[in-house]
Amino acid sequence: MALSLKQRSVLPGFGLTMGFTLLYLSLIVLIPLSATFLKTAAMSWSQFWNTVTEPRALASYRLSFGASLIGAAINMVFGMLAAWVLVRYSFPGKRVVDAMVDLPFALPTAVAGITLTAVFARNGWIGSYLEPRGIKVAFTPLGVVVALTFIGLPFVVRTVQPVLQDLDAEIEEAAASLGASRWQTVTRVILPALLPALLTGFALAFARAVGEYGSVIFISGNMPMRTEITPLLIVTKLEQYDYAAATAIGVVMLVMSFALLFIINLLQWWSRRRYA
């Protein structure tokens, strides 16, 4: 039998849809991305290395990726909790709460940033209580974490929700009748079943947080070396007409994000394989 790329299938339209998918991906994703690499290629290797490893850039990577990871991790825990409440219990106003979860999606990020800053600033609603106790949120790395947690919440909730809905209550009853305590049921039965969805939610929230710009720049204060995120650094370089440096940092971000997402995908593949 001749080796053929096209497999016979009862579903028609493989050629058309596959062709369109490739074209679309190329136009939307690959071409802009390769332009980034092309632009960077204008620099020499040492120039590139110096640009992307200058202390200010390194500090911004630490903040961007660190705060994104922390934010995604916080969302993984509390997003799961929210999904649990929304799936397992019925209470008045459940639909409203359910709709509120999507607010961070819908709100323009700049509005979110200004709101968060106003709330957490020294004279804000929450900030006025926290600052006298020595907890500064606005204009600190903590503020960046708060903003990135805010924008990432819907991802975990929305990925875990359907899986939780599919998870039969019978599974929990079975565990209980076998003598498992509530804690054992959660850690040994429910969490492992939710793990792939949790990882997906984590990856999405993380990816979104790494690229987030609008909501962070207001609350962070943008002090170089302390509260400057990488996307802001890129914008700063652009404003200085240093396009090559901007794209160079962009490339580093791209590669790091890709590597992290790839690792998360591997983890997911590993945990999902067990379900077959």
Binding site: E173, L178, G179, Y275
Partner: protein, 357 residues
């Protein structure tokens, strides 16, 4: 362990699933809860397991004479087998069976080698030891249900409760598994209760059958008792196909067409109407009228596939009548569609009140 259910009532909102149900299950018996859907049989099983709480103040569940009403399902030491298996998808078959042992508090938890031994012995018992390393999704329905059973048995339950254990399996596997369950019970002698809506399954497997309807127990008895001596029309109706004939009562006799049948003595002689129930295989067909009670009918449809030939008739008063005759008799009679025949009931059951499912 013996189980006693005393006056248990359970309501879900406006719906009453169980009405003052009382039941005694002696140690070591295999009991079937049989009834149509919505009869409350699964609810009763779940109340016994502690997965459902009976209405407050309604009654009690006793295990070995001790009140267990307020015990949680965790502390009741019951093994529960679900209709849809409820296996843990992310665990191997081995780990599924070992689960109940692994979650025990450290003091009473068996050692790793004991767990291995126990689980492999159980997997051998359910004839699945060669699948220990697989995941549930790689198994067939019948295999999964056997794993679920092994998992429930691993904690050495005093009672085994099975909720429609064979309900989602295909007919052939179902028959094999229920015979296997019977043999397993004969080996282990653990008090077992299983829920089913399949009368054949209940009659074949159980020591005693509890027939339920609309949240009440209609009859409790051995398969022979409930089948041959049904307490009421519902039980008779539910335990097999049946033909209903409405008759008038006059002078202690039930009249249907030209037939006249003695009304059983304990029946109310003052009743105006009575219903005669006859199973399809207890009706005889002939081309000639017999001198006993008989009625005329016309052949409407013949289905000769299967061990018995199913004949559909239209009686002289226009009602459909189902008859089952042997293949031999069918050949002798040379029945044709639209033929005129005479039907004689060989055995019948008369109830004064009518029942419809």
């Amino acid at each position: 362990m013996s189980i006693e259910v005393r006056h248990i009532t359970k309501t879900f909102g406006d719906f009453t699933a169980l009405k003052e149900v009382s039941l005694e299950i002696p140690t070591g018996e295999l009991i079937a809860l049989l009834g149509p859907s919505g009869s409350g049989k699964t609810t009763l099983l779940r109340v016994i397991a502690g997965l459902e709480v009976a209405d407050p103040g309604s009654g009690a569940i006793l295990f070995d004479g001790e009140d267990a009403t307020s015990r949680s399902s965790r502390d009741r030491q019951v093994g529960f087998v679900f209709q849809h298996y409820a296996l843990f998808r992310h665990m191997t078959i081995f780990e599924n069976v070992a689960f109940g042992l692994r979650v025990r508090p450290r003091k009473v938890r068996p050692s790793e080698s004991e767990i291995r031994e126990r689980v492999s012995a159980l997997l051998k018992l359910v004839q699945l030891d060669w699948l220990a390393a697989r995941y549930p999704s790689q198994l067939s329905g019948g295999q999964r249900q056997r794993v679920a059973l092994a998992r429930a048995l691993a904690v050495e339950p005093k009672v085994l409760l099975l909720d429609e254990p064979f309900g989602s399996l295909d007919a052939k596997v179902r028959k094999e598994l229920r015979r296997w369950l019977r043999r397993l019970h004969d080996e282990l002698h653990v008090t077992s209760v299983f829920v089913t809506h399949d009368q054949e399954e209940a009659l074949e497997v159980a020591d005693r059958v509890v027939v339920m309807n609309e949240g009440r127990v209609e009859q409790v008895g051995t398969p022979d008792q409930v089948y041959h001596h049904p307490a009421n029309p519902f039980v008779y109706n539910f335990l097999g196909n049946v033909n209903l004939f409405n008759g008038r009562v006059e002078g202690g006799k039930v009249h249907i067409g030209d037939m006249a049948m003695e009304l059983p003595e304990q029946m109310r002689p003052d009743a105006e109407t009575a219903v005669v129930y006859v199973r399809p295989h207890l009706l005889e067909i002939d081309h000639q009228p017999t001198n006993t009670n008989h009625f005329r009918a016309r052949v409407e449809h013949i289905n000769p596939a299967g061990p018995l030939v199913k004949v559909e008739l239209i009686s002289e008063w226009g009602d459909p009548v189902q008859v089952e005759i042997s293949q031999e008799r069918y050949r002798d009679l040379r029945l044709k569609k639209d033929a005129e025949v005479f039907v004689t009931p060989k055995e019948k059951k008369i109830f004064v009140e009518k029942y419809s499912i």
